[in-house]
Symmetry: none
Subunit: 402 residues, 2 copies
């Protein structure tokens, strides 16, 4: 029996509220030997108070040593094993620019490229054309019509775009058309299972029309398709946990990920203060609030230790407004670590706190940080184990067995 089956059998109604505050890429590293991490350096009196009253620990997003992308990182926090639920590349690219992907859709990453007179690829990225050129070319591609399928084309940036086909019977088992090196012809879209033959035909027709439209452009006179992907088969938060869930996220990727698990995306405003205010305004309508804070990740990716410290302090300063809503369970964590020293996502466990005034068993930890979290009551755990804990602390799970 899967953990989700167990949980579903134990759910009971409650009026409690759960907040999952994800500070993207929260975990970090010291820059100097023996030094402090970003979170340990930041002055965070409000997070420290929550850590003191609640329980802390370290979350492993996917598995030891695995550096997650945003998709697997968030699926884990939503309680789904990221190793069991694959979100295809095309879907993620679409979500990242706010393109909806529904059950009848196949989303595809497109790359503009340059081909020579014989059709051989001479540049797989079309000289990295500027985003404005990409937008103009995508505008031209919008005239493409294919019988029985709705076609959407959207620019991403530089040479990248998203293509979405909507229609019945569209499988996503279609191989990339990128030959992966220059001097070769692009490949015809080829179905690798019978259920994807229609998608392969549609893609071939799309490429035929696109080649005609782009033939006089330079350097982007064709495109390649990669990462054909359907909406993943995954339960909604309501189906899995009986939760009406709202997503309050500024960036499209995270709103898209929330939609994958059936959350309602609420207009978040612009700042974290706005997001907490939006939570307040919607407090009675939902059981679960996913609030996403991007800047702990982007400053880490930039390698800006001081700035990451600053945005952590800004998040901390805003927290009293969230706490004033009196959630029954408040979790603060990240979908992965993004140490500014590494300028990238990393595999390091993520400091996590779970504050539930009615049921938290406090540990001895009084500050929020990577080293203190090692001594915490949550121990080191897999991210997917957080949701059952949240439901339990929210009084939403009956006893298992008699």
């Amino acid at each position: 029996m899967s953990m989700h089956d167990v949980i579903r059998g134990l759910l009971e109604p409650a009026k409690t509220k759960i907040v999952l505050l994800v500070a993207d890429g929260l975990g970090g590293l010291p820059i100097e030997p023996g030094g402090k991490t970003e979170l340990e350096t930041a002055r965070t009196p409000n997070l420290d108070a929550l850590a003191t009253e609640g329980t802390v620990g370290l979350s492993t997003p996917v598995a030891p040593g695995i550096t997650p992308g945003s998709g697997p990182g968030h699926l884990g926090l939503f309680g789904f094993d990221p190793l069991q639920h694959d979100i295809g590349r095309g879907v993620l690219e679409a979500l990242g620019i706010g393109v909806e992907v529904g059950p009848n859709d196949v989303a595809i990453r497109g790359n503009f490229c340059t081909i020579d007179a014989e059709g051989r690829v001479t540049d797989r990225r079309a000289g990295r054309i500027p985003t404005e050129v990409c937008e103009k070319l995508v505008e031209k591609l919008r005239v493409i019509k294919i019988d029985g399928v709705e076609v959407l084309v959207e620019p991403v940036r530089e040479y990248r775009l998203v293509v979405r086909f909507r229609g019945e019977g569209l499988g996503d088992a279609v191989a990339d058309t990128d030959p992966l090196s220059t001097g070769l012809h692009t490949l015809a879209p080829k179905a690798t299972d019978p259920g994807s033959e229609k998608t392969a035909k549609v893609a071939a027709e799309f490429l035929r029309q696109a080649k005609e439209i782009l033939k006089n452009e330079s350097p982007a006179n064709f495109l390649m398709m990669r990462g054909f992907a359907k909406f993943p088969q995954i339960a909604t938060m309501e189906e899995a946990y009986g939760l009406k869930a709202a997503a309050i996220a500024v960036y499209p990727m995270y709103r898209g990920l929330a939609k994958l698990v059936g959350m309602t995306v609420v207009d978040p405003g612009k700042t974290i203060q706005d997001q907490f205010e939006v939570a307040k305004q919607n407090w009675d309508k939902y059981d679960f609030f996913f609030i996403h804070y991007k800047y702990t990740d982007s400053t880490g990716e930039d390698g800006n230790f001081a700035k990451k410290v600053e945005v952590i302090e800004a998040l901390d300063a805003a927290l009293p407004a969230l706490r004033a809503l009196n959630p029954d369970v408040l979790i603060v964590t990240g979908d992965h670590s993004t140490p500014s020293r590494m300028k990238s996502h990393s595999f390091h466990p993520v400091p996590t706190l779970l504050w539930a005034p009615a049921t938290s068993r406090p540990d001895l930890v009084t500050t929020f940080g990577e080293r203190p979290a090692l001594q915490g009551g949550l121990g080191q755990f897999l991210a997917k184990d957080l949701m059952p804990l949240a439901l339990a602390h929210a009084g939403r799970l009956q006893k298992f067995g008699a």
Copy 2:
């Protein structure tokens, strides 16, 4: 999807070096209530420095409460779940005396025994004949020839020997011929699956000739066969992790185990200083170095607490030469605990340190030992999770998902 499948999909080339230094049976116990373990007693400034700069924790070789043999203990450290990969008894016995076991081989443990005139077993161990007698009898058995199969016989010690059949179509599903108590006839070798019929026939012919050869010997006038085993189906370090791996181990068993996962066995010299020097000489040729140190186990097995402390200190004193090679990742651990108080392998978790100057997240631990390791950043983990961590710290794994 298995963890190995995940890892294989994420591998990326790197020039980094990983060292896995296995101090066999490293973990211990205090002799007196409240006392220190062997490792805690030992003066280990170099290990302590690595613990301070790196991250420590405790490795559970197989599963809680399970005392591993050397086979499962090492398989776990090499990243293979010992519960999923069985190394047959015959193969381990062969490896232990340096007999090669290849894909076309079946290795079998032999016991000399005594039978009476009616063929009934009167002593299952032939009065524990001395090793010299065993060697002479094995010499006599070397005349045995069987059509279509290459036969190898090697003494182990006392009444124990190894038989290896090499040839096509030899399965290993053959039941032991040991009746398990005296007064009974030895059993005929019986295949328990169709693919092992040939092996059963070959074994029967071997036993027929052996009985003839040994009939006038006393007390060892026959032998029984146990633990028929083939080379296990297991990926090599190169297949699983893209690593060119060298094994620098003095004892045959550990060289054999390393060969099972495709490591190249390098002549180790005699002392740990030699082994580190050999690592230096081969530094450019390999990505991964498995260095095995036996004496932490053998002193534990002897129940010699003071001597175990001494060999730990000797290992520590040699360490600067290894550290001077500037590995990107250096792991110091054991394949299991061997507390001198128990004079045997045990199920206790094994103190482990992972030092990776570019990516280690330091914890608050500044000495290497069982109690300090409990506070460490690696937490308590399964041995099989170490390899993914090592690869991650060595910059050899891409991001999982987007």
